[in-house]
Symmetry: C2
Subunit: 347 residues, 2 copies
DNA sequence: CTGAAAGCGCTTACAG
DNA sequence: CTGAAAGCGCTTACAG
């Protein structure tokens, strides 16, 4: 199996009887310093290309300073495992669709070494430079890495709101959504709410807490915050079961499911004894046959918008880039569900 | 936002007070023509690299003829959509895991233009050349493309058996699995089997038919083949309902589910009136609460082995490559299930 | 209008 | 042992 020598522009030039530079110009449909290539020449070049199996070498193009039409996808943990896919699936689908539309390929940084449980974007062999720009996904983004990307002026977009200055992102407006859930609870007669959360320090987690605090102040409800980082879930359940709050809100659907089981052991049924709502996506989940009350998050749209923004960062020049809205929050919606119910009597 | 000039080996060389070539050698831990670089020099270079944000430019490495540690993933249709993920999910997971182990990144050719319903691997802008090698996934592989890859000596591996000469693959042994299903049916007293299939011309489809024919001959059973390409599913159901065959085997689980609905309308219950088995993966699927009889296919393993083989094709020299087993079939297993039952009486 | 040439950042021979 | 140089396949100025 001898490899036939790779066809290059030089070979095309030889066949067409022109210079290699001319081939490059025809291929890129570009003309420099009042150069004009006659249609006849272009045609000769095109025919020569068709005769052969020529494809431009993307490494050479990139080295010469051109776009690659390759976008990087960096996830802070494995994205394609069965469990991750529940979260990453819709995001990846949105990314794939948008990439297809833009004519870009996607480089997944699966090789990134794992340190302290999360992958590192920068390492001795990072292929980041090969891409025109990069999308960052995951809860546990590394602040130092984000800052370095900003400093280097490397085009990238984070999926999810970030606090670091200069970081472009597309995020979900958890503050508003959380307020909407509280509003619903209040409309149903509730006045005392427990929020069970993971005690994480991510921006999204902070936004939920902020949204809750804001709503509590505006609507005069009392809130109790319980973190599973401080005490385990069964303790949290015990506190709720023995307390007087009438609604329990959880950070995500998995905590809701686990907590419902614990609460059942305390004789608390949902929503008869206690209402429940989730500050996360509840699509496809139910609790004892009942649809859950929570969010419907447009994850595919989120990812697609992030990719579209990235593309703009890449193709625009510095001036046009300055006009770009680097930070976008998109709205999710509330899923009414059946786990948040009218308050029956005062306890 | 001025981009700081990219750090190159030249800059490292300047800092360390050595030549750029020396930097390259230290980085790659390589020595040519009885060259030996003293540890002291190596240390100076390493320190210079740590001082800066140097990362090697993968495009330049590739252009200079080195491996990229990038493996291409080509799917003949979108892989990350909700529906595709059912099929591609386990394969992609296996690929991701193995890539992580090998320290490789993955390039998904999402940009490939769609023609006649399937994506084209070769097009004017294919980034194939950027990868060290490529994994091919999908039912509808293009023979011409496979042949071209073989001719060009480009390293690649197909997931699924292929007929084209010289194509390396890792496939599933449908012939044996199909025989096993027939054997089970025979052991349960059945002698007449209908096989409902899509009439596809893929190697996997052909293997199922071949396995069935072989088993039928060996075990003296009569088989009827019905293709949904010739007549639609309700007609197929009618033929089965009015016939005397006691087992219906379908090509995959989706056809099984659809066919069961049609058969119910003819008053045929499964497995009381008719047994059913599937020549495809049945994990996670059931029919009216009953586990389906069919295959359990080790898709993750399949994909991982394909990637491992690809890696071998890439790193081995021509001589060592010749010793490689280019074609592997791996065994799936039978899921007993409850839809294939003992034949009650003769009809 | 076309060709010869520099340069992108590397690897790897080959002189010193 | 080290440095200067060629080459990978492109793009893009700059002479002719």
């Amino acid at each position: 199996m001898e490899k036939p020598p790779k066809v290059t522009q030089r070979e095309i030039a030889r066949i067409a009887g022109v210079s290699q530079a001319t081939v490059s110009m025809v291929l890129n449909d570009r003309e420099y310093s009042n150069v004009r290539i006659p249609e006849a020449t272009r045609e000769r070049v095109r025919r020569a290309i068709e005769q052969t199996t020529y494809v431009p070498d993307p490494a050479a193009r990139r080295l010469a300073g051109l776009d690659n039409k390759i976008l990087g996808v960096f996830t802070y943990e494995a994205a394609l495992s069965r469990e991750s896919l529940d979260f990453y699936g819709p995001l990846l689908h949105g990314i794939e669709q948008e990439a297809e539309r833009l004519g870009c390929d996607l480089l997944f940084f699966t090789s990134s070494p794992v340190e302290d449980g999360t992958r590192k974007l920068f390492h001795k062999q990072t292929r980041l430079r090969l891409t025109d720009g990069c999308i960052l996904l995951g809860q546990q983004m590394d602040s130092a890495e984000l800052t370095r990307l900003v400093e280097e002026g490397f085009p990238f977009v984070a999926v999810g709101r970030r606090d670091e200055p200069g970081v472009p992102y597309v995020g979900i407006d958890y503050v508003t959504l959380t307020g909407d859930i509280v509003e619903q609870a209040v409309a149903l007669g509730h006045r005392r709410i427990t929020y069970a959360h993971y005690g994480r320090s991510t921006p999204a987690a902070a936004d939920r807490v902020a949204g809750l605090a804001l709503a509590a102040e505006t609507m005069l409800v009392e809130t109790t915050l319980l973190s599973t980082a401080d005490s385990d879930l069964s303790e949290v359940a015990a506190v709720i079961a023995n307390g007087t709050d009438t609604v329990v809100i959880t950070e995500d659907v998995f905590m809701a499911e686990a907590l419902a089981v614990e609460l059942a052991e305390h004789g608390k049924a949902i929503p008869e004894d206690l209402s429940l709502a989730v500050l996360g996506d509840v699509e496809g989940h139910s609790l004892g046959g009942r649809g859950m009350t929570g969010f419907q998050l447009p994850r595919e749209q989120l990812a697609a918008e992030a990719l579209a923004l990235l593309q703009q960062l890449i193709v625009r020049n510095d001036k046009a880039r300055a006009k770009l809205e680097l930070r976008t929050m998109i709205e999710g919606s509330i899923v009414a569900g059946a786990t948040l119910a009218q308050l029956k009597e005062s306890r």
